[in-house]
Symmetry: C2
Amino acid sequence: MSVLQGINPNIRKMKQLEYGALASRANQIKEELRKGVRRHYKEVIDVSWGDSHRAGVKPLTFVRQVLAACVYPPLINSNNLPLDVRQRAQKQLGTCAGGSVGKGYACGISEFIKRRDGGIPSQPENIYISAGSQWSIGNILHVLVNSEASPKTGVLIPVPCHITTAVSITGLGAVTVPYYLSEEQAWALQVEELQRALESAKGVCNPVALYVINPGNPTGYVQSRKSVQEVIRFASEKGLFLLVDEVYQDSVYGENSEFVSYKRALSEMGPPFSGTVELASFHSVSKGFLGECGLRSGYVELVNLDPAVMNYIQTLFSKDSSSPVLGQIALDLMTDPPKPGDPSYPLYNQVGTLELYLLRTSQHYNLPGLSCPPIGGGFYAFVRLHLTPKSIQKSKELGLQPDTFYCMKLLEEGGVLTTPGSQSFSGPLGGAGTLPAGQPLINLNALKEKLKEL
Amino acid sequence: MSVLQGINPNIRKMKQLEYGALASRANQIKEELRKGVRRHYKEVIDVSWGDSHRAGVKPLTFVRQVLAACVYPPLINSNNLPLDVRQRAQKQLGTCAGGSVGKGYACGISEFIKRRDGGIPSQPENIYISAGSQWSIGNILHVLVNSEASPKTGVLIPVPCHITTAVSITGLGAVTVPYYLSEEQAWALQVEELQRALESAKGVCNPVALYVINPGNPTGYVQSRKSVQEVIRFASEKGLFLLVDEVYQDSVYGENSEFVSYKRALSEMGPPFSGTVELASFHSVSKGFLGECGLRSGYVELVNLDPAVMNYIQTLFSKDSSSPVLGQIALDLMTDPPKPGDPSYPLYNQVGTLELYLLRTSQHYNLPGLSCPPIGGGFYAFVRLHLTPKSIQKSKELGLQPDTFYCMKLLEEGGVLTTPGSQSFSGPLGGAGTLPAGQPLINLNALKEKLKEL
């Protein structure tokens, strides 16, 4: 077993994650700056992650106050915290049965989904909470992927798409079937391309599911109602299970952009779609304005699944004991926030104004040598670099992808840490390839905060 | 896909977890008591879980104070918290880079392991943090189990053993190979039985790993140094990977009982063992005196693994983003607790006195109709019920396992919620069977707290 050949062959197919060289260099530079070494910049701006707090975005006061009081209940009696915070903490602990909550919190989530979807019902028994959306996606994939099947199970995923999704799929013994988003059309998802991708899978694998992320990561593209309906029709026609990653649903700020959930669109389409298309929708406290990725909490809502299959899903989610309790509380706070009149409402409500900054920031990337389509939502800017042949040659000599080379220069000379697209995003069939290099990823939310400060 | 036949066949082999009927009835009774319905008891004592807080055990003040200050940093400037708590929170946040910590905390853990093992070195790069030990075990199993192999991969597991371990194994497409612990010898692990189990697997599966839990769950058996050495020799001889669940290592209170880690024993045995036997050791903040199972945090230390295999393990642990940050902080507090002289030391140190209660409690189960071997450590008492033929007949008529019937009566008439052994523990090959019914599981720690109160 100690030799590589002995391990699970599916694990060997996983692309290995390499956050290494850039992050290490950034740490070295930070250390040098601390010791007084002089550079053009005073600190490293880290916008390479989905974690905005890492780059200086402040957590929401209300959320942190309630959590602190839940962790250390004597604070509930302290006058230092607002009344609604203390009442909320008291209420949360009342539900907790001594600190461990289970599926109970899903009640609050179903109310949130119902409000979001204009009154379309949502049932707590169709909702599972887990330690973040990646975990939920992994559990649902685990049910869908038959690792013993021949041909192998296939899952359609977008390109670009964060590498972790592809890693989860290949790790379970399935094959990724890439469909390419259209950069020319602001990274739109096109049904003809889904059709092409599906045909490309013939003889290679047996596609059973279609993974969509809307609003897009890293693209920032927001699907229209019509686009969502087209995808649903396609999934219905081809008998595909829809895995819908909607973790950026609260981060839509483009003009004329609106978030329409797949569940809502499906319900509005009526029979036969509304009663047959199988759907899993994922959300999380990590993304959107809450940005609490360190708490690890998310949920999945399942639509139109067979009750017998639901029993197995229940077992899968139960076997990991509970999801982190403080994350569950944050999920409850996100889905049931302070209301007008509550002492914490005015401060909490200021979050909305962030959107204007984001909108403005997204126009800064169309500088000479850079281009970026308009961004409708999400957390990131996925910027194309127009590199000179000399720069590409230089990067080859150093054994680096051109975008990694650019990101390294941006770090050294500009003090900004970004993620090269070739490193974090999956490409061709099998999940082991890379995109044409040249696209660093930038966390807008974090960059905006830093620009305000500096 | 909507029909059960379409899903992953390994998922269909998983035993479905049923915490249902007893827990529902307990909730009904709690509700009735709240409404003033009179019974022989005033409240339901829930000792059915590994979560002691649920049953009224108080969390540790120091841990909760530091966490609250990390969650809501203005508390660091408050005079309401002890100085060492505020300093510690400041230090933790300093390491956090804005709230998200990665592998860095492993440094503190390796120091803890080194102290525990009498100076045997431990390297941070061999330690991974995750959202609890079940998750770590799942990741390591994922590497070891080849779901496409024929015959299937086998993993030796003890009987009794908590069902979640068996569910993880079968869910990945492997087969559980049971070895029976000896109730007559206080649930001792015997090498001859490992030998018998391994032989029983011939023609059925290809065993690659041996799972051991020491101190035992649910048995409370603590292995001697000699017993650990014997198991290591057996694993070495048979080429088995050792999965060692050591989450109860801080809960050893039996007379003449001592926790000796597998890593320490392995190191002390010297070559060829010390440099060849592959080992994964799991620990967690959920168990022992900390009891913070809601924070979801644990670690695994890997010994003697091939560096190429370690790279894949790194990818598996990285793909789930970080583990819950507050859990990581709790892990750091557990492995680096207050020292003599610190303001929080006197209170924190009182935890030690719990052990005496536990020791006394474990003798209460040898009443007429019940028997329980002496308990050396861990969290639970696994009690044999000597049921009358009439009682067994009655339970059959109700379609219940005899132990479930007993637990239901214990709840109805005594107000104590326990877990039937037949429900939560795995039996025969394949992980889908049950133990001979008749053994409810009782959380000692929680019961002790309740007995003090009532």
